[in-house]
């Protein structure tokens, strides 16, 4: 085993969305930054267009994970049975394990949270058994950083219709083109008296920052973009960091623990990396820095904090009040399907999401919070076959084949990310038995969301049905939601922000309480996850934390 010692200003664990943003801001502010990413820096040609192995349908694998067998997790079902799971399985609760993280293959919906998403307890009270809490910051604190994210990553949207969250500047890119299905749904919303508008997407609808626009292909979410129009950290802030000459990115570098001194100061990290760029052999290395930032995503960041225990911190770093790994949440996603009227002209172009309503994010009778509702991304044939044929269509034979050709272009579905009511028992711990390829205990996922989440999700499901019916869908159907653990691509909450160290893991900027130079800039920080896709909020928090770190150095 080799040990190499180097001194940086900042080490960032994870070149995903939040880590990539922090790298760009800090390197441009003059810091010498080391970014350690366990995945690879994948080019377009390295990410297969396999319809059975991508990030929306990963039946037998996905298109970014290099060594799936080397990174297991353990999933505990609500009955208490546990089993070892691998990245392509639903119970793994994966995001993408590559430079860019989830943003390499994401759907690009780039939503600001609603101002009331930051004060859920103030607005609704705390349901018994839940860990619902207000954020220690308000929408106004984050607004300038939302704006930075929209401009520096590149978001397409229409500021004249996006009213629920006050903004000062227009979006830098024109909104995605309207679609016939969007226009049809807009008429349905108008009948119901609901707001409906073009959702913000982080896609180049025009050339932007030196990259080409979207060509509206039909293989979008879960894949790499053929024109690089999908904006993420991998093609914006991370290249900006590297262009300064002050940022070093090491891929296939898996951080095993954060090193602290007896005073609790983080001094560096221990990681495993290949002995040579293409070697399968790895060696253990150490790197030192003045500031350490964790951005491994909500599950892996919690795992790393727990793995970094020491005699001074026997339960892991930041875990002084037993919040690390708890409140794991994502979004419940009611999906309602229907059929467009016969003869409807549906060009079925990507990205596909073209209309949304924020009518039901808050103020819903009898339930807590709510969700934005939108139409869906352009759908692959096999996904339509699996999940969107009407329930009474036979599953095989000529009748099924005929239904596929008659109904594929008539399929329409609405869905919405329901704000979860977090539970302290939905959590990441270290598994006592299963270890990864580096012999480190793996993440063990257990518990479920709070039952209030299911009630809100059922309310939202009914509204989505109303919308499809009002629009004139020929048939409308959906399935009831059940109580389960939810994390997956929208994973969040495992190292929550809290002004008081007793209430969470980090201060209101993302600095770990009790460890002055240890920061977090990923989804772990979210106290609650909003009734919207979470990534723009992850970016805004990362811009805000990085600006604070840069100012202090």
């Amino acid at each position: 085993m080799n040990a190499s010692h180097s001194i940086y200003d900042v080490i960032i664990v994870g070149a995903g969305l939040g880590g990539g943003i922090a790298a760009g801001v800090l390197a441009e502010a003059g810091q010498r930054v080391l970014v350690l990413e366990r995945g690879r820096d994948l080019r377009y040609r390295d990410i297969p267009g396999d319809h059975l192995r991508h990030h929306r349908l990963s039946l037998y694998g996905d298109n970014t994970t290099h060594d799936p067998a080397g990174h297991p997790r353990v999933f505990v079902d609500p009955q208490g049975g546990s089993r070892t799971v691998f990245p392509h399985e639903a119970e793994y609760h994966n995001n993408a394990l590559t430079v860019g993280g989830g943003s390499r293959v994401w759907g690009m919906q780039a939503w600001r949270f609603h101002p009331d998403d930051f004060r859920m307890v103030t607005r609704y009270g705390r349901p018994a058994g839940s860990s619902l809490a207000d954020w220690p910051i308000t929408y106004a604190d984050l607004a300038p950083y939302y704006e930075r994210a929209e401009h520096e990553v590149g978001v397409a949207g229409d500021h004249t219709t996006t009213h629920y969250a006050p903004r000062e500047r227009a979006f830098p890119l024109p909104p995605v083109p309207s679609t016939p299905t969007g226009a049809w749904l807009a008429r349905g919303a108008a009948k119901l008296g609901w707001n409906a508008f073009t959702p913000p997407l982080a896609v180049n609808t025009a050339p932007y920052q030196g990259r080409a626009p979207c060509v509206q292909c039909r293989q979008c979410i879960g894949f790499a973009c053929p024109t690089d129009a999908r904006n993420g950290s991998h093609n914006t802030l991370l290249p900006r960091a590297l262009a300064t000459g002050r940022c070093t990115l090491i891929t296939r570098a898996h951080v095993a623990r954060v090193l602290t001194d007896t005073s609790g100061r983080a001094i560096g990290v221990e990681y495993f990396a290949p002995t040579a760029p293409d070697s399968a052999q790895t060696e253990r290395r150490t790197a030192f820095a003045t500031t350490i930032i964790l951005a491994g995503g909500a599950i892996e960041t919690a795992r790393l904090l727990l793995l970094s225990n020491s005699p001074q911190h026997p339960h892991g770093l930041g875990n002084h009040s037993d919040h690390v790994g708890r409140h794991l949440q994502g979004h419940y996603y009611p999906v309602v399907s229907g059929l467009l009227p016969a003869g409807f002209e549906n060009p079925n172009l990507g990205p596909g999401v073209s209309i949304a309503t924020t009518q039901f994010n808050h103020g819903n009778p009898g339930v807590i919070g709510g969700a934005m509702l939108a139409n869906d991304f352009v759908k692959l044939p096999i996904i339509f076959w699996r999940s969107h044929l009407p329930p009474d269509i036979p599953r095989w034979g000529l009748a099924n084949k005929k239904a596929m050709r008659e109904l594929y272009l008539r399929g329409i579905d609405l869905r919405g990310p329901v704000q979860e009511i977090p539970s302290p028992d939905s959590r990441v711990t270290l598994d006592p038995h299963v270890r990864d390829r580096f012999d480190l205990p793996v993440a063990r996922l257990s518990g479920t969301t709070h039952p209030e989440t299911v009630r809100t999700a059922e309310f939202i499901r009914a509204r989505a049905e109303d919308w499809l019916r009002a629009a004139g869908a020929e048939r409308v159907w959906s399935s009831a939601m059940d109580l389960r653990l939810s994390a997956s691509q929208h994973q969040a909450g495992t190292a929550r922000l809290a002004a008081d160290p007793r209430d969470g893991v980090t201060d209101s900027f993302g600095r770990v309480h009790g460890h002055n130079n240890l920061w977090i800039t990923d989804g772990s920080l979210h106290v609650t996850n909003g009734g919207f896709n979470p990534a723009l909020t992850i970016m805004a928090l990362a811009f805000r934390a990085a600006a604070k770190i840069a100012a202090a150095h």
Partner: protein, 146 residues
Amino acid sequence: MPLSPTQLNALRALLDRLIPADEYPGALASGTDKFILQLLTHSCAAEATTLAQGLTRLDAEANSCHGQRFAALPATAQDALISALVQNRTTTPWPATVSAAAFVNRLIDLAAEGFYADPANGGNRDAASWRMIGYDPLLPVRPSAP
């Protein structure tokens, strides 16, 4: 080869009913059988034994009802047998590890996965199923992404 020649015959006959040819090619003309064999030797190797057992049971069911292997039955009798098995209505004993319904439902899934996935997976020759339903990924011939 995860299947015996007899099992392979049963598999092909079954696929031919799960996604039959009409004015558009069916599973067999699209190579869906080869897609499944490929899966059974790689991604789904762990399932090969139970699927092979299921195919043997399928022939046993056909024999018990009609005195012939599944592949030799007329299409209507094949369809009736598939419908019965999907509802777990059997006339011969199935091993505890393979229920008739789970076996047929798994093959229904595998057939569709091959037939409707991208041609590179091997079960959707010439993207015939995509042309049938009106799907084209519209990917640029020469991507401009790095």
